[in-house]
Symmetry: C2
Subunit: 251 residues, 2 copies
């Protein structure tokens, strides 16, 4: 874990606990949401891993990622059934104990009582939180996520994950926001590759990527420029537009 507060660049990884994604039966909807939200608040997502619901795989991926990035966000595996092993795996990775947490019980008990539901052992399982963790509110169905060190542990169900992500965001240290501009050209990218590389060479601090597509109008590419410095970004954008114009390529 690195200390994120006060840094210009704050980084993150996502760890998806995902037998169901790896089998193809469910298509992930969480990575894109987290990527968008982190970019918007000034955290750079630098790696994503999807691993099976197996304790050793979760522990080793988590320990690699939490050492390399300022934050790690996990999704999946914190429900009431036997296959939900994420909280235990997180505790193991940190070498801390895990037990039913009175703060979680205090949130969940009234929710069940109000619905005439028993606080069964299965539901109690969702109140198990590693020692030293802070809870992350679940506005949808109450059973909380948690944050331990630099690791944020969230549900896999998209609307619950989204609520947890919104709840935890204000607590995160953020850096300069990565801004981007996109210029769409309606030419095969091989026709703009040379001039695009030349413009990149003039602005080494503004990473530029070309993302090709094809549609009913033919081949095209989105040329995406990124920087945390709005002035450099605009200069690079103007240079690219001028270069495209000089080559007779409309945008």
């Amino acid at each position: 874990m690195t200390e994120a507060a006060g840094k210009d660049i704050v980084t993150a990884a996502v760890l998806v606990i995902g037998d169901e994604i790896l089998s193809g039966r469910t298509k992930d909807k969480n990575i894109g949401f987290i990527a968008d939200l982190l970019t918007a608040i000034g955290i750079q997502l630098k790696e994503v891993r999807i691993v099976p619901d197996e304790e050793d795989k979760i522990v080793s991926a988590l320990n690699a990622l939490r050492a390399a990035f300022d934050y790690v966000f996990t999704t999946g595996g914190i429900g009431p059934t036997h296959d939900d092993i994420t909280a235990d795996a997180i505790a193991k990775a940190f070498g801390v104990t895990i037990d039913v947490d009175p703060r979680a019980v205090a949130i969940m008990a009234p929710h069940y009582a109000a619905r005439g539901l028993e606080f069964t052992p299965a539901r109690m399982r969702m109140a198990r939180i590693p020692a030293g963790a802070e809870l992350v509110e679940n506005a949808v169905s109450k059973a909380p996520g948690f944050m331990l060190g630099n690791v944020v542990v969230m549900a896999g169900v998209p609307n619950i994950m989204q609520a947890m992500m919104q709840a935890v965001s204000p607590r995160l240290a953020t850096g300069k926001k990565m801004q981007s501009v996109a210029i769409t050209v309606r030419r095969p990218e091989s026709e703009i590759a040379e001039l695009f590389g030349d413009v990149q060479a003039k602005f080494p601090t503004v990473p530029m990527g070309s993302y090709p597509f094809s549609d009913e109008q033919g081949y095209g590419a989105n040329l995406v420029l990124r920087s945390t410095d709005p002035e450099q970004l605009d200069l690079a954008r103007q240079a690219l537009l001028a270069s495209l114009d000089a080559s007779g390529i409309p945008v």
Copy 2:
């Protein structure tokens, strides 16, 4: 690299070269397609990583994954622009040279000639293939992917990636197919957790997962059972159905 031929269980990883996915600007559509196709042909997808378009990140992820799994499938970064560095990174990871490949030129040259297009240096860049690799056909836009050792290198544009995946599939060693059955219950998963865990304990070779959802009818869960042994799978399914019935839970 492990030798996949003749094994009962053949495993794979996916490596997405993906600044554009990590920024959130583009949502990945390739992981789900590859997961479905591999499951269908009898290869088990065991890990996915998304890394930035940076050579050292690609090399280290690739070397970790190709040592751990029978196959690695990469997507992205094999186009004509300066940010397309995947082929060079693969060559570096394997410690082999990379150069314009006459086999790739022979495929691409007639394609450009027929369209009155020059075979420019940018297009020639897409013909650069690491030494020792076999080409993977691109039925969409000709510039080929390739397979080096146990690593299959494909484009990131979904329709081109899909064409390459279809082209390479017949060359892959496959194992027993993982089959699955899903039973949908319209109860919160906390109400089936105990009986579900009991059934899992009776069938340790049939991994069972519960995937909750909520819709306008309320909470529910998809109970998914998996096995490469159809007989065990059916026995487990019958046991689960009997247990749900005994608890008065309709399916």
